[in-house]
Amino acid sequence: MNKEEFVSVMSGVQSSDETLERIMNMTTPKKHFRVRKSLVVVLAIIMILALGGVSANAATDGAVAEYISNTVKVLVNGKETDSEITTDENGSKHIKINGDLQTNGENEIVIKNDKDGTEQIVHYEIQSNDKETAWSLDGNTYVVANNFQEPTTVAQK
């Protein structure tokens, strides 16, 4: 075996066109992400208000920030999980949650507001297992994908 023969063996072995395209397009940040099945991703979700009684203008910096400041309960794919709301020095809100997110299909994330009983359901397809990366949704609220934890439970194949 020499290099030439080895290269010949491996010539047809490569990643899929879909993956290659995704890699090429990584220079453009996207709102939807897919996470590897074996990793737990800490995800910060910003809710866009579309509930009854809230006007179209509610999806402003002030209304979102107020909603986020209320107590929330988070369920990831049906399982309640811990959540932490933080505010950075610029006043931007982050909600961080821990949960086992699945790569096959979408993840359902339910955020319940304990104060007024309303809930918001978000479906997320997440693709990132790099360190913290933030995308601004409205200039004052951010989606943050962050994986730094080993999984405590992993779905068996």
Binding site: M1, V9, S11, V13, S15, T27
Partner: protein, 159 residues
């Protein structure tokens, strides 16, 4: 790094980095994830590179590091023979047999084979990359060749 340079780096390196990742993961899907992670790190790297060769060597190191982190994870699944037939194309049946023999090697031996034959690195360079000593690399190379010869029944060039 500019977007154009990034795209060129991807086109230049994706196949060989995928081969490295596959040697560690033994799983197509996970190898794709590691490949993606590697290039994402490239895109986010904010220091200048001297030239294309510098970029390529940097990518190899990053890919190896990603692979090493990967093998610490539990619940790894190997790509089956049937899946290999569907995923990749081979010019002839012999290439298919050689590929499957490679996939049957332990990860560290498979990786050394890829770095030696595909990347054309010396045992010293491989040792530096894998942060191990040269005698370990030579041992892994020797063991891999013996196993491949047992499986394929042919001689390997002594380098």
């Amino acid at each position: 790094m500019t977007k154009d340079n990034y795209i060129l780096a991807v086109k230049r390196n994706h196949k060989r980095l995928f081969a490295i990742a596959l040697s560690y993961t033994k799983n197509h899907e996970d190898a794709e994830d590691l490949l993606q992670n590697t290039f994402l790190k490239l895109w986010k790297y904010d220091k200048p590179f001297q030239n294309d060769e510098h970029i390529d060597k940097w990518l190899t190191r990053v890919c190896i590091n990603e692979c090493k982190n990967y093998i610490k994870l539990p619940f790894r699944k190997s790509t089956t023979l049937e899946e290999v037939k569907e995923l990749y194309t081979f010019d002839n049946p012999r290439n298919f047999d050689v590929f499957n023999a490679l996939m049957s090697l332990p990860r560290k031996e498979h990786a050394v084979i890829v770095l030696f034959y595909y990347e054309d690195l010396s045992t010293k360079e491989i040792a530096e990359l894998l942060k191990t000593n040269e005698s370990t690399v030579k041992t892994r190379l020797r063991r891999a060749r013996v196993k491949l010869k047992e499986i394929l029944g042919e001689d390997w060039a002594n380098e």
